[in-house]
């Protein structure tokens, strides 16, 4: 990939995509696919489904680049997170998330020890409890803890004010602590 392309800001790439530039689209996809996949995976807990959501989101943008309106949307990633979250929620409504498949998890070469198994169980419990949280609380957690967005950015993605977001996170954490203690 030419250095010039890699240096371009998302906004510049989007303007080029609106002129039908496939190279700009390729750069944008390569730059952000992993980040949006991560978020989709958190919702769907399934690799294929998460990949489909990311693909659909990008293809929607390619098919109809006028969806991106620079004067209305402050930042591409903030706007696109919202699109991915909405697609995930749609998908989630259609299909119940699959239970974590042990084979699907990242392979660990070390011999299974009690500690590892315990951690494994803990992780599975956390995933289960997060999946049981109300939709907005789950979204707030995913955005702030997984994506590393600031509270302000996460609030923008969710279309709520900062206080509302903090309250969602607080409630989610309280619920999780209660449930994990039990």
């Amino acid at each position: 990939m030419a250095a010039g392309w890699a240096d371009k800001e998302d906004n510049e790439l989007l303007a080029l995509i609106q002129d039908g530039n496939g190279q700009a689209f390729a750069v944008l996809v390569e730059r952000h696919t992993d980040r949006f996949y991560r978020l989709a995976y958190r919702y769907l807990q399934n690799r294929a489904a998460a990949e489909d959501v990311v693909q659909d989101a990008f293809l929607k943008l390619w098919e109809n680049p006028a969806l991106w309106q620079p004067q209305r949307h402050s930042k591409f990633t903030t706007w696109f997170y919202r699109i991915v979250v909405n697609l995930c929620l749609d998908q989630h409504k259609k299909k119940k998330p699959e239970v974590l498949d042990n084979d699907a998890l990242v392979a660990d070469d070390r011999a299974p020890t009690d500690e590892l198994m315990m951690r494994e169980q803990e992780q599975q419990m956390v995933e289960k409890e997060i999946a049981a949280l109300p939709e907005r609380q789950r979204t707030a957690l995913n955005l702030c803890f997984d994506e590393g967005l600031t509270n302000q950015e996460a609030a923008e993605v969710m279309g709520v004010n900062l206080k509302a977001l903090q309250s969602l996170i607080m409630r989610a954490k309280t619920t999780l602590k209660e449930r994990l203690k039990a």
Binding site: V29, A50, E63, V126
Partner: protein, 105 residues
């Protein structure tokens, strides 16, 4: 105690496991996009220009001049008494005109 639990929860939340995406996911998306046409929504002015484009005249000045000349010719060749007089005393009356027509039949 509560702080410990908070910390532990945050650690758990930050170390959630993730199944990595296929290595070729980005390439797959790019390839798929290449096979899809883009749909663009034209702006208002673009739509207006397109509309006028439909009625595009190759030589507008000639067409306008021809239309003007044709209008003058038609105007001059029209009969002088085309309007019906308010009173039927002068000129051609409708009644007379119709009855003249009927006599032919």
């Amino acid at each position: 105690m509560s702080d410990n639990r908070d910390e532990k929860l945050e650690t758990l939340l930050r170390s959630r496991r993730l199944e990595p995406a296929s290595a070729d996911l980005a390439q797959r998306i790019i390839l798929k996009a290449r096979q899809m046409p883009q749909t663009t929504i034209p702006s208002f002015w673009q739509s207006v220009r397109d509309l006028f484009g439909e009625f595009h005249l190759p030589k507008p000045a000639y067409v306008l001049a021809s239309a003007l000349v044709l209008g003058i010719v038609i105007g001059l060749s029209a009969p002088q008494e085309t309007t019906l007089a308010a009173d039927d005393s002068g000129g051609v009356s409708i009644q007379g005109f119709l009855s003249a027509d009927e006599t032919l039949l």
